[in-house]
C-alpha cells in the first residue's frame, strides 16, 4: 500500500508539472513541481527517499528537454540528500522554514542546471532573470499544497524512525 501511494505521488507530480507548465504557464512562469515535491519528500522522509524521488523526477525533467540529459537528475538527487541531511539540524515541519528552503534552493537549482550546460555543452544554459527571480515565488506559492500531498500520501517508513532515533 505504501509503495502504491508513493507511486501515486510520483505520477501525480509528473502529470501536474506537465499540465501546469504546458497549459497554465503565465509569461513562461510555472512552478517546478518536481523540485518542491523532492524537498517535501526529503524533509518528511529523509535523504534516502528524497534522493530516490529526486533522481526519478529529475530523469523525467531531463526527458522533457533536449540539453544535458542527466543534469536535473543529478540536481534533484543532491537536493534530496541536502534537505534530508538538513532536517536533522532544522525544524522543517513549520511552514516558514519550508518556504525559506524552497525559495533558497530554487535559484540554486536553476544556476546548477546552467552550470551543467557550461561544463558539458560549453555554454551556460541561462534561464533568464525573470525565471531566476520569479520561479522561487511560484514554488513558494505551491509549496504548502505539495507538502500537504506528501504528508498525506508518502508515509514515514522504518528508515525514518531509525533516522530520528
Amino acid at each position: 500500500m505504501r509503495q502504491l501511494e508513493g507511486l501515486f505521488v510520483f505520477l501525480l507530480g509528473m502529470a501536474v508539472h506537465w499540465i501546469w507548465s504546458t497549459r497554465f504557464a503565465l509569461w513562461g512562469l510555472a512552478p517546478m513541481i518536481p523540485l518542491v515535491l523532492t524537498i517535501a519528500v526529503a524533509s518528511r522522509n529523509g535523504s534516502v527517499a528524497g534522493e530516490c524521488y529526486g533522481f526519478a523526477w529529475g530523469l523525467f525533467l531531463d526527458m522533457l528537454g533536449m540539453h544535458v540529459f542527466g543534469a536535473s537528475a543529478l540536481g534533484l538527487t543532491l537536493v534530496g540528500y541536502f534537505v534530508g541531511t538538513l532536517r536533522r539540524n532544522m525544524d522543517l515541519a513549520s511552514l516558514p522554514s519550508q518556504l525559506m528552503l524552497v525559495a533558497g534552493l530554487t535559484p540554486l537549482f536553476l544556476l546548477f542546471y546552467g552550470t551543467m550546460g557550461l561544463v558539458f555543452e560549453h555554454r551556460f544554459l541561462w534561464v533568464g532573470w525573470k525565471l531566476l527571480l520569479l520561479t522561487p515565488l511560484c514554488n513558494c506559492l505551491v509549496a504548502p499544497f505539495c507538502f500537504a500531498v506528501v504528508h498525506r500520501f508518502v508515509r514515514s517508513g522504518r528508515t525514518n524512525e531509525m533516522d530520528l532515533s
Binding site: G28, M66, S72, L74, T77, F120, T159
Partner: protein, 275 residues
C-alpha cells in the same frame, strides 16, 4: 554514522555516478538506449493525463458544438453536392497542369503537409529551446521534418523534429542555440543565416555590409535552405546591430512571426521535399 546516513551516502554516489555518465556520454549507444527506456516508461503518465485534461476541458465547448452541428450538417450536405462539380473541374485542371509541367520540365514546388499536431508539452526550463507535439512516427512524422507554427492566420517556421517517439515528437525550436536556417529579405534580396539565441529573439547574421536594413522588414526562408521550404515567413527585423568594422558582415535581431511561447498548433511537413 547510522544506517540511514550510510545508505543515503551510497545512494548519492550511485545516482551521481549514473547522472555523470549520462551527462558525459550522451551519444553512446547504451546512454541512448537508457534515454529511450526512460522516455518509454515515463511518457505515458503525462501523455494520458494530458489527454484526460483535454477531454474534460472540452466538455462545455463540445456540448455547444453538438447543438449547432445539426444546422451545419444541413449546410455542409448542400455544399458537398456543389463541391462535386468543383472537384471534377479541379481534377481536370490538375491533370492539365501536370501535363504542362512535364512538357516544360518544371518540378512541383512546395512541401507536403504530413499532418497537424498540437503542442502537448512546454517546460519553463526549456521555454525557447524545445516543445513536444502529439504526433510521432506512427502518424508518419519523420526525423528532421520542418515544423511550422500557426497563430491565427499567420504560418511561420517554428523548428524541426529532433526526436521521435511512437506518438510524440520533440521539436527543436529555431530559437534554440543549436538551430539555424538560411534566410533572405524578400524586399531587398539580401541573404543571411537566422540563428537561435536561446531567447525569444533570433539573430540574422552574415548579411552583406552594404545591405540597407530597416526595422520591420520581413525575413523569409531562403530557397537555399536545406531544411525548410522557400519563402516561408520567419519574422521581422526588430533591431539592426551597429556595424563592427572588424567583421565582413552585419547582423540584425529578428522577432519571430509566430512566437514559440504562444503556439498551440503546428504543421509538420515532409522532410523529403528538398531532395
Amino acid at each position: 554514522m547510522n544506517r540511514e546516513k550510510r545508505v543515503a551516502t551510497y545512494l548519492l554516489l550511485a545516482f551521481s555516478l549514473v547522472s555523470l555518465i549520462l551527462l558525459s556520454l550522451p551519444l553512446t549507444g547504451k546512454v541512448q538506449t537508457f534515454r529511450w527506456v526512460v522516455s518509454y516508461v515515463l511518457s505515458p503518465a503525462p501523455f494520458y493525463a494530458n489527454r484526460a485534461f483535454d477531454r474534460f476541458s472540452n466538455i462545455p465547448s463540445d456540448a455547444a458544438r453538438l447543438i449547432s452541428a445539426d444546422l451545419e450538417l444541413q449546410e455542409a450536405r448542400r455544399r458537398l453536392t456543389e463541391s462535386e462539380l468543383v472537384r471534377a473541374e479541379a481534377d481536370s485542371l490538375r491533370l492539365e497542369n501536370e501535363r504542362l509541367r512535364g512538357a516544360l520540365g518544371i518540378q512541383a514546388a512546395g512541401a507536403k503537409v504530413i499532418r497537424w499536431a498540437r503542442v502537448m508539452q512546454r517546460d519553463p526550463l526549456t521555454w525557447n529551446r524545445s516543445v513536444m507535439v502529439d504526433a510521432g512516427a506512427e502518424e508518419g512524422v519523420k526525423l528532421n521534418a520542418p515544423v511550422l507554427g500557426v497563430q491565427g492566420s499567420t504560418v511561420a517556421i517554428l523548428g524541426r523534429v529532433a526526436e521521435l517517439g511512437a506518438h510524440t515528437a520533440k521539436v527543436l525550436l529555431l530559437s534554440d542555440e543549436l538551430s539555424a536556417a538560411a534566410a533572405y529579405l524578400p524586399g531587398q534580396g539580401w541573404e543571411g543565416l537566422v540563428q537561435g539565441q536561446g531567447s525569444a529573439r533570433l539573430r540574422l547574421n552574415y548579411l552583406p555590409v552594404d545591405a540597407q536594413l530597416t526595422v520591420g522588414s520581413e525575413v523569409c526562408s531562403s530557397p537555399t535552405s536545406a531544411t525548410f521550404p522557400a519563402n516561408l515567413r520567419i519574422g521581422t527585423i526588430s533591431k539592426v546591430f551597429a556595424r563592427d568594422p572588424f567583421l565582413a558582415f552585419q547582423s540584425a535581431e529578428v522577432s519571430a512571426a509566430v512566437p514559440p511561447s504562444v503556439v498551440k498548433e503546428v504543421m509538420i511537413l515532409d522532410p523529403a521535399f528538398s531532395k
